[in-house]
């Protein structure tokens, strides 16, 4: 349990570092790890200055209705966003619709949400999918909810920055149209990643381990930011900041 909590905290710290150069980050109410990361970055560096938790009442500052997010994105007012998917392929196409032949998908997933739009317009889209398996990371998605790449005549200001899973972090190379393995989390190995990734990707045999979280950043998360995380993501906070550690901190 503690190990899982530590792994999740490491992901939070890793993502926080990726958001340091952003002014405005929007995250879904159902995305606790990216959400916690954005809150942590804001607490640590004051950037992103704006963290908007979509679907939340207290932590969403939009006053223009559900469409404001998309207008913001289209104007370049959102710097980073997170997308996931039941399937992600080697060209960074994502599938949020379902497995099998559309429309009779089996299983059907919720649907595309705003991905078909936001993927084109937000500069730094981080693909985040904890499950790292051949089921989720596939050669070719069954349905393209949003394409990773577009031809030159297509208006496109944004796209995939990288892919973060429970095993590794990949950067997307737009010129090569491929992912490149950036770092391997300490719980995994290159062999493990090759075994569990359904698409081919570039890598060096000396690919580094993902750096452990900076102790000061981790401390900030465990102390100051945990309250904020608990306010926005109560169930998640309960899982990663167990009561025992809370009692220990209280002392």
């Amino acid at each position: 349990m503690t190990d899982i909590a530590d792994d999740k905290k490491a992901l939070i710290c890793l993502i926080a570092n990726l958001l340091r150069d952003c002014n405005h980050v929007a995250v879904g109410a159902a995305s606790p790890i990216p959400g916690a990361a954005a809150l942590l970055a804001k607490a640590a560096w004051g950037t992103p200055r704006f963290v908007n938790i979509l679907g939340s009442v207290a932590n969403n500052f939009f006053t223009g209705g559900g469409g404001e997010l998309f207008d913001c994105a289209a104007q370049g007012r959102i710097d980073a966003f997170f997308l996931g998917g039941g399937q992600i392929d080697g060209q960074a196409n994502i599938n949020l619709m379902g497995r099998g032949d559309y429309p009779s998908s089996n299983p059907r997933w919720p649907g595309t949400f705003g991905s078909a739009y936001l993927y084109f317009l937000i500069p730094k889209v981080i693909l985040f999918r904890e499950e790292h398996s051949r089921r989720t990371l596939v050669e070719k998605v069954d349905f393209i909810s949003a394409p990773g790449l577009s031809d030159n005549s297509t208006y496109r200001k944004g796209g995939p920055f990288g892919l973060l899973t429970s095993k590794a972090f990949f950067r997307f190379d737009k010129d090569k149209k491929r992912f490149r393995l950036e770092s391997i989390h300490p719980t995994s190995s290159l062999e493990d990643i090759l075994d569990n990734t359904g698409f081919s990707f570039d890598y060096s045999k000396e690919a580094p381990l993902t750096a452990p979280p900076d102790p000061a950043l981790l401390e900030l998360l465990n102390q100051e930011v945990r309250e904020k995380v608990a306010e926005v993501y109560p169930n998640f906070a309960e899982a990663i900041f167990p009561m025992t550690s809370s009692a220990a901190h209280a002392k």
Binding site: G66, S105, G114, Y117, L118, L121, S153
Partner: protein, 276 residues
């Protein structure tokens, strides 16, 4: 006074939504009228065309499960952390509903076009997706102002017959307070009329102060109001209740099977044994 709502029951309210109606419904965070949803199922409404603005959840799930829906047009149907929506998943697998899968800003844009009385709204993004390939209404056009090739997607206007939602307050003139949930205004402007359930009636005009007036949907757009306290139950409400977590878990358990879902309808919809 344009609207008589004082003595109308929720079942009479639902009777005014005809079979085959195109009904716009908000996402869970904007105020869903679950009270009206249950009344619609009780009246055995048929062939609804639901427009989830821009997504839907338990509301569409129940209506689909109860056989009330012909077409589901939205960007997603999600029950969030409770997991895959069992009745929706089954309906898709068996092909018993017609799907018009969109993406969130396209739903907003279609409604905006209707608000403005124009045929379509152009929208960036979407190109190269299978959502575009499968959508029956969208067209790719050339940006008429560009010298170079610049394809852009034209989203046709979406005009619902009725916008249906739950709000905190209405006054005696039929004005409705929606706070900053502007999508409810967009939905209502786009639709032919709005049907609204409210927690309570304000005895003073909602236009009395500018602070309140800033969040008012004027009675001009409102066709029917029904008082239904806690009308979003078991869903959360931005101006009140948290989600009824125990009930949602119970739903997920019961809706796994056809019989279980029927039992759910019998117990919580047909008899409306709603805990306070």
């Amino acid at each position: 006074m344009p609207i008589g709502f004082e003595d109308g029951s929720i079942d009479e309210f639902a009777m005014a939504i005809p079979d085959g109606a195109k009904v716009a419904i908000p996402a869970d965070y904007a105020g869903v009228s679950m009270a009206a949803t249950r009344a619609l199922i009780r009246r055995r409404v048929k062939n609804l065309h639901l427009v989830g603005v821009p997504t839907s959840g338990l509301q569409a799930e129940l209506l689909i499960g109860a056989g009330c829906v012909k077409t589901f047009e939205s960007s997603a149907l999600t029950l969030g952390e409770y997991g895959p929506a069992p009745r929706f998943t089954k309906a898709v697998r068996e092909g018993t509903i017609q799907l018009v899968d969109a993406t969130c800003p396209a739903i907003h844009a279609g409604l905006q076009a209707s608000q403005k009385g124009i045929p379509f709204m152009p929208l960036r993004g979407i190109l190269g997706s299978d959502v575009l390939k499968n959508h029956p209404g969208w067209k790719v056009i050339q940006n008429p102002f560009a010298n170079n090739k610049d394809p852009i997607v034209a989203i046709p206007a979406i005009q619902p017959d009725i916008a249906l939602f739950h709000a905190p307050l209405a006054d005696r003139e039929g004005n409705v307070w929606i706070g900053r949930k502007r999508e409810l205004v967009n939905m209502s402007h786009a639709a032919k009329t709005a049907f609204v359930t409210v927690d309570a009636i304000s005895e003073t005009s909602l236009f009395e102060t500018e602070e309140k007036a800033a969040g008012v949907l004027p009675a001009l757009y409102v066709g029917k109001i029904c008082v239904a306290p806690n009308g979003s139950w078991p869903l959360p409400f931005w101006n009140g209740a948290e989600v009824d977590d125990a009930h949602m878990r119970r739903y997920m358990e019961m809706a796994k099977s056809d019989t279980g879902f029927q039992n759910y309808l019998d117990q919580f919809v047909m008899q409306e044994s709603v805990p306070a």
